[in-house]
Amino acid sequence: MFSQIRIALTGSLERVLTKLATFLPGVMALLLAVILLTLVGAGLAWIVKRLLTRIRFDERVGLENSAGVSDWSPGHSPTLLATRIVFWACVTLGVAVGISAFDAAYDGKADISAFLLPYIAHSIGSIVLLLAGTVVARFLARSVLIGAVNAKLQYARGLSVGVKWLVLVFTGAMVLNNLRIGGMVVDLAFGILFGGIVLTMALAVGLGSRDIVARSLDRSVSDLNPGSTERTVAARNSEEKPRVLRHF
């Protein structure tokens, strides 16, 4: 009996080691592809950075498009954005090549690349969605905050936070949907959460602060009067001439 146990253990150890031995070249091929293309990507990114710096790409883009790429780019530098795109594109290509190499080196029956490659594409799309959603959420939150403060709304910060979370929840739902995680649960949860936030904001603004909104709207209408560059102050009595401060 002990010899049979010994034979069984030896046999399974042999099989595992054999599997590992056949698995290892695939892994090495994957790692090699990723490392090589990462180095190529770093080199290309350096070349692109030197080229764009030489032609003053940041200044040209900033001059012609003041509210566009420069504001969205990391570090407000379109050159940095371009180099990062080049680098990460090469890394992604390296991962794709590596997976194909792993599949070819491992075992033709499993066809892992047919399963992994689309999932990697979806993952990359989800990461891009997440980044874009975060940037848009921050931008909109700040826009709403500044606009509400200039409109003298007391609940400016609440409005800004509400808008930010609306966009983030929307983005999160899209990312999970793209990754095919959760299915119907995510859709329902998103609907409930999004609708809840919107309803809460509507109630808070519409019912809880209707007097403030009415006063704010009145002020906004009087500020938008002809002479929107003027601030007209009502006279204290009907005989007094209205006082006007002109900014321009």
């Binding site: 012609e64 407000h76 938008l224 929107s228 560059t229 601030r231 321009f248």
Partner: protein, 433 residues
């Protein structure tokens, strides 16, 4: 004796013939007056006044100084094929295609300067006068004096210094004039003048400046002629004038108007950084201008009182509570501390020091260049700070004399702190007090 009289008569006739021949040989002096794109045409009635009467008067004065001169008036027409060039009432009318309503109706856009440059070249003019909206209210003496400065005194840029009450043109007092004086050395009170007279080379320079702006944005972009003249080393001067009716732009609120003007100014400062960073810039050539005020032109008293500052102070306090994080991205700790103290001040003693306002403006100009945050957000965040300055101005300046003193003191503070801007501009990461 009769023969002597005859000789004298013959001599006079010969002299007048000589003069007439000389004038016939010299090309006529052409002066172009461009009406704003919002003008309705020379003959339109503006409450009993018309531009035609004003232009006639100016043409008459021009001919009395220089008989061999011609006034041309360019006015907007939506269909130039239906309107012919006319010569009547002593001046020639030249229609141009209006670009449609623009947002910058109270100031000249790049489109206006480009059009003036084109018309100057087409008609071979020596002087160009751009008139802003509501030009019917301008006194003919003012326009004549501006033309005289350009043609006779050789000035490249002549602008009128209108009589402005202490509660008018507040943004000009807060930022435009002090920055223009500090960075470009110009004493011109209104760098963004409504009415401008320019020499041919000044118009050409402004036309070249419009080439930097994309064609689609020219109708809404502002140019700064005073800064252009300073950088080019051209001469400039002011005509001391009386009152003028100020145009009103119906479509912009304060935040949008401030973003438009301040954003344009900051961009212009960035473009001309090489000039204003010089240690010893060449002194500006200033021309002395005429004083064409009448005895009825007097300053009105400040119409605002202390209570009018209350809503502005409340607005600032609300902004301090909500925008402090955004301001901390732009302003150094010293300025933030100053704003904190300001937000805690009681209304009666609410005073923003000149030094604090100067630092705020310079830091915002730098942040505009570095794109520390989105430019729209940056200029939106500047609005409450400007309103705080206005509140302080209302509380400090109780009459016209106080307002003038405040304006001069502020301009001096901008000049004194210019090294701060230069240091931060050159080393934005290293020098951050």
């Amino acid at each position: 004796m009769a023969s002597v009289d005859m000789i004298a008569e013959t001599t006079r006739e010969a002299a007048s013939d000589e003069t007439a021949r000389a004038e016939a040989k010299t090309p006529p002096l052409r002066v172009l007056v461009c009406l704003s794109a919002s003008a309705r045409g020379p003959d339109a009635d503006h409450g009993g006044k018309s531009l035609a009467g004003l232009m006639e008067d100016v043409a008459t004065r021009l001919r009395s100084d220089r008989p061999n001169s011609q006034l041309m008036v360019a006015f907007p027409a939506y269909d130039t094929s239906a309107v012919e060039t006319q010569e009547n009432r002593g001046y020639k009318t030249v229609p141009y295609v209006a670009a449609g309503e623009t947002r910058t109706v109270w100031m000249h856009s790049a489109e206006d300067f480009r059009r003036a440059s084109t018309l100057m070249k087409q008609n071979d003019c020596s002087c160009c006068v751009l008139l802003g909206a509501e030009a019917h209210s301008i006194v003919p003496d003012t326009i004549s004096a501006m033309i005289h400065m350009v043609i006779e005194s050789g000035c490249d840029l002549a602008v009128p210094r209108y009589l402005i009450d202490p509660d008018e043109g507040v943004f000009n007092s807060a930022m435009l004039y002090p920055l223009s004086r500090s960075l470009f050395g110009s004493e011109v009170r209104t760098p963004l003048a409504l009415d401008i007279a320019m020499s041919a080379r000044m118009v050409e320079r402004m036309g070249t400046a419009t080439a930097r702006i994309p064609a689609g944005s020219q109708a809404t972009s502002i140019l700064w002629p005073v800064a252009e003249a300073a950088v080019a080393g051209y001469s400039m001067g002011e005509v001391i004038a009386g009152r003028r009716e100020e145009p009103i732009s119906p479509d912009l609120d304060l935040k949008a108007a401030l973003a438009l003007v301040a954003g344009s100014l900051f961009s212009d400062i960035e473009t001309k950084a090489a000039y204003w960073q010089r240690n010893r810039p060449a002194p500006l050539q200033m021309c002395s201008g005429e004083d064409v005020r009448t005895s009825g032109d007097t300053l009105a008293e400040f119409s605002m009182d202390e209570h009018d500052a209350d809503p502005l102070i409340d607005s600032f306090r609300l902004a301090y509570g909500n925008l402090h994080e955004i301001w901390s991205l732009v302003l150094p700790p010293n300025s933030l501390l100053g704003l904190k103290k300001l937000s805690l001040m009681p209304t009666e003693s609410f005073r923003m020091s000149d030094a604090l306002w100067v630092r705020i403006v310079y830091d915002f100009a730098l942040a505009h260049r570095l794109r520390t945050l989105n430019r729209g957000h940056l200029l939106g965040a500047l609005t409450p700070l400007y309103l705080a300055w206005v509140a302080s101005y209302i509380l400090q300046c109780r009459n016209a004399e106080d307002a003038k003193r405040c304006m001069d003191a502020l301009a001096a503070a901008f000049e004194a702190d210019k090294p701060y801007l230069v240091s931060r501009w050159r080393w934005p990461d290293r020098f951050n007090p």
